[in-house]
Amino acid sequence: MANDLWVERQISALLSTGINSIDAQQSVTWVHRRAPVGVGAAEWIPAADDVSMPIDEAVLHDARVLWFAEKPAKVKRLLDSRGIDG
């Protein structure tokens, strides 16, 4: 129950900053699952290696989806431009 309350408070706090609900849930769930045993999600400070990752297709897809979701209609498809030699 205490864990559920912590998770709920973290998600609510993120939502209040303007983060969307999917991202808020994802962040808090990640912390809750990755916090080392004996440290606790509320006290744990990850190392840089914990939050760093290769820039792979999944990362590019994430960036593409967010661009499409957040940018004005006129430029939503800008970064999906096909390159031509002309």
Binding site: R9, Q10, A13, L14, S16, T17, G18, I19, D23, S27, V28, W30, V31, R34, A35, A41, A42, E43, W44, I45, P46, A47, A48, D49, D50, V51, S52, M53, P54, I55, D56, V59, L60, D62, A63, R64, L66, W67, E70, K71, A73, K74, V75, K76, R77, L78, L79, D80, S81, R82, G83, I84, D85, G86
Partner: protein
């Protein structure tokens, strides 16, 4: 010299004008180093691209500042702060570099590796900041200043890759060069380096120092760059001047 030559595509009909704004598709001209609307054949001007980028950076800074404020106020845990900041930093930096390179199709493996290393360095700084906040060493204004610096790393990445990309721009059938000059933000504080770079006026893009590099502002630099493609035989008329 006009550098807005159009590709030969069907022009938009008046009744389609509203649809033009909605989900317009683009191509990336590898020759001109410009995004071009498929519907109208017109390139996006550099001024428009830089306005879009300025908005992009401002939005990232707003989002990350709100997260940082929530952390400083104790509403989110340090791990949630670090994870969220790292994610947003990764997203806006990747998007910035993709804008500079001309789209996702222009990203190559070497660039992705370099980006990952850069982001890891920024993540180390974010983790350090989390420790500093918990130790009471950082006020909220100081924290927000650090956030501005992190976002500025993404801004620097844009200008670094934009310079490499645009320096290769050419106009068909003409011997041209790309020139650039630095503009100071009208309301920002400047270090001693930025006014000097501004005072140099127009010069070859390849020789122009990009905002945030070789200046004390670093990631906080608010300068921007304007560029032109001109005939090579006109170069002497531009270098060192402030011509419009």
């Amino acid at each position: 010299m006009a550098d807005d030559e159009e590709l030969e595509l069907a022009p938009a009909q008046p009744e389609e004008k509203e649809r033009d704004e909605l989900l317009v598709g683009y191509i990336w001209s590898k020759r001109r180093k410009r995004f071009v609307s498929v519907r109208t054949g017109k390139p996006i001007s550099e001024a428009e691209l830089q306005r879009l980028f300025k908005r992009h950076i401002a939005d990232a800074e707003d989002k990350m500042s709100a997260i940082a404020t929530a952390f400083h106020e104790g509403r989110i845990s340090p791990a949630v702060f670090v994870e969220r900041m790292a994610t947003e930093q990764r997203r806006h930096t990747v998007q910035s570099v993709v804008m500079a390179k001309g789209g996702f199709d222009e990203m190559d493996a070497a660039l992705l590796i370099a980006l990952a290393l850069l982001l890891r360095e920024t993540n180390q700084r974010i983790v350090g900041t989390a420790h500093d906040v918990l130790d009471g060493k950082v006020s909220l204004p100081q924290l927000l200043n650090r956030v501005e610096g992190y976002v500025g790393e993404g801004r620097k990445s844009f200008f670094q890759h934009w310079k490499e990309t645009v320096a290769g721009a050419v106009l068909t059938g003409q011997d041209t060069v790309v020139i650039a000059r630095r503009l100071l933000h009208p309301f920002a504080k400047h270090c001693k380096d930025c006014p000097y770079y501004h005072s140099l006026g127009w010069g070859l893009l390849e020789n122009t120092v990009m905002p945030g590099f070789a200046c004390q502002c670093g990631g906080h630099c608010r300068c921007r760059i304007i560029e032109r493609i001109i005939p090579r035989n006109e170069l002497e008329q531009w270098v060192g001047t402030f011509r419009q």
